[in-house]
């Protein structure tokens, strides 16, 4: 049987004109966003930061099957490292940012140690404790500003400073794009396949030659690196850092992003981060959020003044996703795509 097979096309990034076209549209939107939605620039930048975190967390949880409810800890390590190196050591932003990512990655190794022995709920508790511990420790290290934190001014590139909102947005968007493509390629190739194999059957994976401890550790490291980088970007975007940004509920929010978006799918990380961040930023004004606002109006519920209600909404959305569409927003998008492909038949 001499079937023609295109082995490269199986793994090619942007295979086929349709994928290339939509990716080009996406990139153009990313570039044009500051001019299309100038009033929403902070929100869009924050979505960019959270996409990076979700990409990394999804590799760990969605692809490798290792839960983490402590990712805010890695984000915090990245954020504090970047800020301290920039402010106190006068190290240029790119180096400081990468150092933050690497330090978070090393902490990823530390968290991987218990993860090699724990599973499911026990791992969840260990990671949760890690996240909380990091937050408390950072709040108590002298020189880090305690609970007031530290303020940050722009990105010092050595030869120039990026301080404008638009400039910061483009740095975040560029890094998110590069890290998104990297995540996609990791997932599609040998390393990502090993992660998924561990998730689906660790005994079969190890019988096929995969070092379980090594690959689980690697997954924690990649995931923590993504979170650390995002932390440095978040710090600059906000213009300050303090321990309260890394509350444990924030870790839960990251977890919600990957579940809502679609476990194991790179596009799911993007969608989930966008959706959850949007809800979070509009949390004190949920009645003006599409769909949800409409539902609230329908039930004549006014949540404008309620605080903490996003957590309730996030929780409800999480449960609905798990029950109704385990593939998350990505799964819904796939259905729409399939629907339109066969349309109008």
């Amino acid at each position: 049987m001499d079937m023609k097979r295109h082995h490269y096309e199986d793994v090619q990034f942007l295979h086929g004109w349709a994928n290339k076209f939509w990716f080009a549209v996406f990139v153009v939107l990313v570039i044009a966003a500051p001019y299309m939605f100038p009033a929403q620039l902070f929100l869009i930048s924050l979505i960019g930061v959270n996409i990076i975190i979700a990409l990394g967390l999804n590799i760990l949880t969605g692809n490798t099957g290792q839960i983490s409810l402590g990712h805010a800890g890695f984000v915090a390590i990245g954020a504090y490292t970047t800020v301290v190196l920039m402010q106190s050591w006068m190290i240029p932003f790119p180096a400081a940012l990468i150092a933050g990512g690497i330090l978070a990655m090393l902490f990823g190794v530390i968290l991987a140690l218990p993860a090699l022995r724990l599973e499911g709920p026990y791992l969840a508790i260990a990671t949760l404790a890690f996240g909380i511990a990091i937050k408390i420790i950072l709040g108590n290290i002298p020189g880090l500003g305690g609970h007031n934190g530290i303020s940050v001014i722009g990105m010092d590139l050595g030869f120039t400073m990026i301080t404008s909102e638009v400039g910061i947005y483009y740095v975040i968007a560029g890094i998110a794009l590069v890290m998104g493509i990297a995540a996609r390629n990791i997932v599609k190739s040998r390393v990502g396949r090993a992660f998924q194999a561990i998730r689906d059957s660790d005994i079969a994976a190890s019988a096929a030659g995969i070092n379980l401890a090594g690959y689980k550790t690697m997954s924690f490291m990649i995931s923590a690196f993504y979170a650390g980088i995002a932390g440095g970007l978040w710090a600059v975007l906000l213009g300050y850092i303090n321990p309260n940004m890394f509350e444990f509920v924030v870790s839960i929010e990251y977890f919600a992003m990957v579940v809502v978006g679609g476990l194991g799918f790179v596009a799911g990380s993007v969608m989930g981060a966008a959706a959850v961040t949007y809800l979070r930023v509009n949390s004190d004004n949920l009645n003006s959020v599409p769909v949800i606002g409409w539902l609230l109006d329908l039930m004549s519920i006014d949540l404008t003044v309620q605080t903490g209600v996003t957590w309730v909404i996030t929780g409800i959305v999480l449960i609905l996703v798990v029950v109704l569409e385990p593939l998350g927003l990505y799964g819904i998008w796939l259905r729409i795509k399939i629907y339109w492909r066969t349309w109008p038949f």
Partner: protein, 259 residues
Amino acid sequence: MSNNPFFTVDKISKSFGGLQALKELSFHVNKGEIYSVIGPNGAGKSTLFNCINGIYKPDTGSVKIQGQEITGLRPDQVAAHKISRTFQNIELFSNMTTMDNILLGRHMHMKTGVFSASAMLWKNSFSAKDETEHRRKVDEIIDFLDLQASRNKLVSQLPYGIQKIAELGRALATEPELLLLDEPAAGLTNEEREDLIFWIRDIRDELGITIILIEHNIQMVSEISDRIIAINFGKKLVEGTVQEVTNNPDVVRAYLGAD
């Protein structure tokens, strides 16, 4: 020593709490043999495989391949000694396609790491070449096992019999010298079993792979084995040619007793 047997199991024992699943079991397998392990349910056959492949560590005893000690190694280290296996209760990666499942068997032969993977951006990038080269190899296995129709399907959507073959494909993809098959014919239709017998012979004859086979179907075992070991309660009952073992009164009794 030049005439070391290819593979030896020497007095291995394994207990689970009070239950002794293997008791000082010893045997050897010659290169190129199809060696079958039979015995009633709970005899310790799968435990034997798990001790060889490193999922369990035997309490005592030793396992050697080509004179090299592999006792107590991790499963991935045993795999690196060119020992591959299938599982009694299919262990496929259910959310992956047949292609990806078998491609995972190429893991040890592929070289892409995190950094080269991230940069899989053009056709001649290191990781893209690694992928295409090994996908080509997987397609050879897919053709050999007639899995073309299942190539791009999720394995969880395949019928049971095809899943067993896909798992065999993954085991072959590692390029083993010793293949452990734990009840590969269980649950197959007669037709599928005939295909399987054909493939097992081919794997030995064409690829030169030594095979240890756990199987309940005496007819199939008689048809393809060079030698057989019968075990019961973790101990060797008899070992020998098909004739010697199937005519042994203890074996007949153990089998009748179990069924």
